[in-house]
């Protein structure tokens, strides 16, 4: 049912209810701004397609891009926008920054006037399940040549389409490559003769050694307790393989009780009950907690995405030498090797089908995927994009960036990710459970049953659209 067709019926109903005819014209205006105006005049066609203009953007067109202003800022898009304005003289590209993607764009989606390109990222991003139907399929962009003339698909790291593919639709192009790992200070480890653990047993040993030095193995902050869930799932998928990943992704019954998951939870439970986790995390703001790791070195290890280096740049001890290693495995007989990596591209760029200038949005994305723009990103943000070969061997002087490149090379094709947490928006509920568990207030079996409850609730709620992962 469409609001527009309903307007009259609803308006009369409201009028009767209010018994105030005076309101009707004004009320009508409000309804109009809440739910109509979708008879958009998107001039999608106009330009002729050519090698330099593969999507056929009209001449002298305007592109409207709304970019999440988070850890990476928005200047990298502005860089590409300037490049594009040079290539298409007469066209203008407007790049607006916001941290409130959902709040700011919600009325524009309803009004049928969304921007041409969105970086749907950050805490206030729009859930993909909500807008999936309204997004363009971006396969066309990957099939096009980049500005240098190479097909874009050939310039990408492996598996980068996975996080943006929902069902059979490639709806989001995730631009920044994120490596999920466990991070430590190489200098501190060298000083004490410690080795980064490869199995959970080694991690427990290391916890004992840390205790002897009055340090903890792990610490956490209340908003980031689920980083340990990410670590646990990554480790369990390596142990049990795709079977575990698919069970979790498809919200299967008893998915948290699979033996691979349980083995990891049990090991974590041991670490918690041995007192190797710094207490008080449930009451500590997460960046404050992270500073206790990167600055005070209260704990040895911290599981996180590769944004951690940039995030803690100002609060990292000099000579820390931040380095990452892949998630611990349970045993040497794991389904995937220890070097397998949980890596996913982040910063999902989407193009709404109702935008005024869809080809323009695609063209801006194509420009961002050019070697020039991608190298600019790697250099200024110290993070790799999904474009290969933009990071030199010295990693622009960053140990974390070098270790990311190394881990990705070691992993080869053993790269995996999952998206049920973000897709169904369960992180908020899971945070509560993990905070209790890490604080030592919930046992492994409580952790399991409560995570299962969250999963079951989504599965059994028919109003939530599910996407089958294979």
């Amino acid at each position: 049912m469409n609001i527009q067709q309903r307007t009259v019926g609803r308006r009369t109903f409201m009028r009767g209810a209010l018994a105030a005819a005076a309101v009707a014209p004004l009320g009508g205006a409000l309804v109009a701004c809440a739910g109509s105006g979708s008879d958009d005049d998107n001039d999608n066609d106009g330009g002729t397609k050519s090698a330099d203009n593969p999507f056929g953007m009209a001449e002298n067109a305007n592109v409207d891009a709304v970019i999440f202003d988070g850890g990476y800022g928005t200047d990298y898009v502005a860089f590409a926008a300037a490049l594009m304005e040079k290539n298409f003289a007469g066209s203008t590209v407007k790049v607006s920054a916001t941290t409130e993607i959902a709040q700011e764009l919600q009325p524009r989606f309803v009004g049928g006037d969304p921007p041409d390109l969105i970086d749907n990222s950050g805490e206030n991003s729009i859930g993909f399940a909500t807008i999936l139907d309204q997004l363009e399929d971006l396969t066309e962009v990957l099939d096009a040549d980049n500005l240098e003339g190479t097909p874009i698909r050939d310039t990408l790291f492996g598996g980068v389409e996975a996080p943006g593919t929902f069902g059979d639709k490639f709806a989001a192009l995730n631009y920044v490559l994120t490596v999920y790992a466990v991070w430590y200070s190489a200098s501190l480890f060298k000083e004490n003769g410690w080795e980064p653990p490869t199995t959970w047993d080694e991690a427990i040993d290391l916890g004992g050694k840390a205790k002897a030095k009055d340090k903890y193995l792990f610490l956490w902050g209340k908003e980031a307790a689920t980083y340990y869930q990410t670590l646990a799932i990554g480790s369990a998928i390596k142990e049990g393989g795709d079977e575990v990943r698919l069970a979790l992704e498809n919200l299967e019954e008893g998915c948290w009780s699979l033996s691979a998951v349980q083995d990891v939870f049990t090991a974590m439970g041991e670490i918690v009950s041995a007192g190797y986790v710094k207490p008080g995390g449930a009451g500590t703001q997460f960046t404050a907690a992270q500073a206790q790791w990167s600055n005070n070195q209260d704990a040895l290890l911290y599981p996180s995405g590769s944004w951690i280096e940039n995030e803690m740049k100002d609060q990292t001890k000099a000579g820390f030498e931040m380095t990452g290693f892949p998630e611990m495995v349970v045993s040497s007989s794991s389904a995937m090797p220890y070097t397998a990596m949980h890596s996913a591209a982040g910063e999902p760029f989407v193009i709404p089908s109702q935008g005024k200038n869809v080809p323009g949005g695609k063209e801006l994305l194509r420009t961002m995927l050019s070697k020039e723009a991608a190298t600019n990103f790697a250099k200024t943000k110290l993070a790799p994009t999904i474009i290969k070969d933009t990071v030199p061997a010295d990693g622009f002087g960053s140990t974390a960036l070098v270790s990311q490149s190394k881990m990705l090379t070691d992993a080869g094709s053993d790269v995996f990710t999952w998206k049920f947490v973000d897709f169904y928006g369960t992180n908020v509920d899971q945070l509560v459970v993990w905070n209790s568990f890490l604080a030592g207030n919930a046992s492994v079996s409580e952790l399991t049953s409560r995570l299962q409850e969250i999963t079951d609730k989504i599965r059994e709620d028919d109003s939530i659209k599910k996407v089958e992962v294979t």
Binding site: M1, N2, I3, Q4, R10, M14, A17, L18, A20, A22, V23, L26, G27, L30, V31, A34, G35, S36, S38, A102, Q103, Q106, F109, V110, G112, N124, I126, G127, A129, T130, I131, D133, Q134, K222, E223, K278, P279, G280, G281, A282, G283, T284, Q285, A288, Q292, D298, G425, V428, D429, L431, V432, N435, S436, A439, N441, S463
Partner: protein
């Protein structure tokens, strides 16, 4: 003769009545007056207050995602889902706890302070406050001048388990068990700690409100009560409270509305809802449903539940005040 007089009087009256009630000529003056002082506010009220309420109520009966113009009417389904949603019910319960505790404690505290700085001073001579009372008045008003979000962030730092001022002081005093104690991360302390912050922010303001009310009471009442031998507590109970009753009621309702929301404080202190959702409040859940999960219909239903809870609260406060004789005494005065 008398009959005709009566009759003519009535016809006179009848004749006069329509003339009396006949509208005075609609001069530009009168019309513009009505338009500006009656029409405009009414229109603004209808468009910006009543209409959004009606709209929200309508949306609460649809499955609107918030990002499309499409929606289906689902009747009361969203409300049924809320009743089955244990996390929302926890949030509702937390709001109710806040609405019970915050107004009560804040009002008792601020009333006690107000009494002390106005009439709680020396029992000799005229009724007056404690010495330096104007100084106390100023400093206790300070917290109210800080924006709520800043209060929340400041206290989140104070409560920090490892580097916070509170644990620093407590461990410094030799209470070793508060080493790294997570005030906002422990199910037993998260809610009381959060409540404390809200009260801390509001005591000063309500103290000033009560001071103004107490200043409005003629000093003779206090003098007379003193001569009759009433002590300070007795005076507060039998003179001050009955005479500031309406102010107490107003304060109670304001604080109750605040406590049934409490979003800013809770979002600053424990954005995730606290340990085991101990400090989760309804608006946090609402925001999550609307913008993260794309369930605007359900979120609207939460909003309606919040509005109903607030109206119920106000009704209860009015009723209690009326039943305990509030109205009567005020009129008797």
């Amino acid at each position: 003769m008398t009959e005709t007089a009566v009759a003519s009087a009535t016809t006179e009256a009848r004749r006069r009545r329509p003339r009396r009630s006949a509208r005075r000529p609609l001069t530009f003056d009168r019309v513009s007056f009505f338009l500006v002082f009656l029409g405009l506010p009414l229109a603004l009220f209808l468009v910006f207050v009543v209409w959004p309420f009606v709209q929200a109520f309508y949306y609460s009966m649809t499955d609107w995602s918030g990002f499309t113009p499409d929606m289906n009417f689902v009747g009361l389904d969203n409300y049924r889902r809320l009743l089955d949603d244990d996390i929302f019910m926890t949030a509702l319960r937390n709001n109710v706890v806040l609405a019970l505790v915050v107004p009560l404690v804040t009002i008792v505290l601020s009333f006690a302070l107000a009494t002390m700085v106005t009439v709680g001073g020396s029992s000799h001579g005229a009724a007056r406050g404690l010495r330096n009372s104007s100084f106390y008045r100023v400093i206790s008003f300070f917290p109210y001048t800080i924006p709520a979000i800043a209060i929340g962030l400041i206290w989140a730092q104070m409560y920090d388990p490892s580097n916070g001022l509170l644990n620093g002081v407590l461990t410094g005093l030799g209470f070793e068990r508060f080493e790294s104690f997570p005030w906002l991360g422990d199910t037993r302390t998260a809610m009381p700690a959060s409540i404390f912050v809200i009260i801390w922010g509001f005591v000063g303001f309500y103290m000033v409100l009560f001071i103004a009310a107490i200043k409005g009471i003629p000093a003779e009442y206090y003098d007379a009560a003193r001569i009759d031998g009433a002590g300070r507590l007795r005076i507060a109970w039998s003179i001050t409270i009955p005479l500031v009753r309406e102010t107490v009621q107003t304060a109670y309702i304001y604080l109750g509305i605040l406590a049934l929301d409490a979003f800013v404080y809770m979002a600053a202190l424990n954005p995730g809802g606290g340990p085991d959702n101990a400090t989760l409040v309804m608006p946090q859940r609402l925001l999550d449903a609307a913008f993260t999960k794309g369930q605007f219909g359900l979120a609207s239903a939460m909003g309606v539940v919040m509005a109903i809870a607030t109206l119920l609260f106000a009704a209860i406060v009015f009723a209690v005040n009326r039943l305990t004789g509030g109205h009567e005494r005020v009129t008797r005065r």
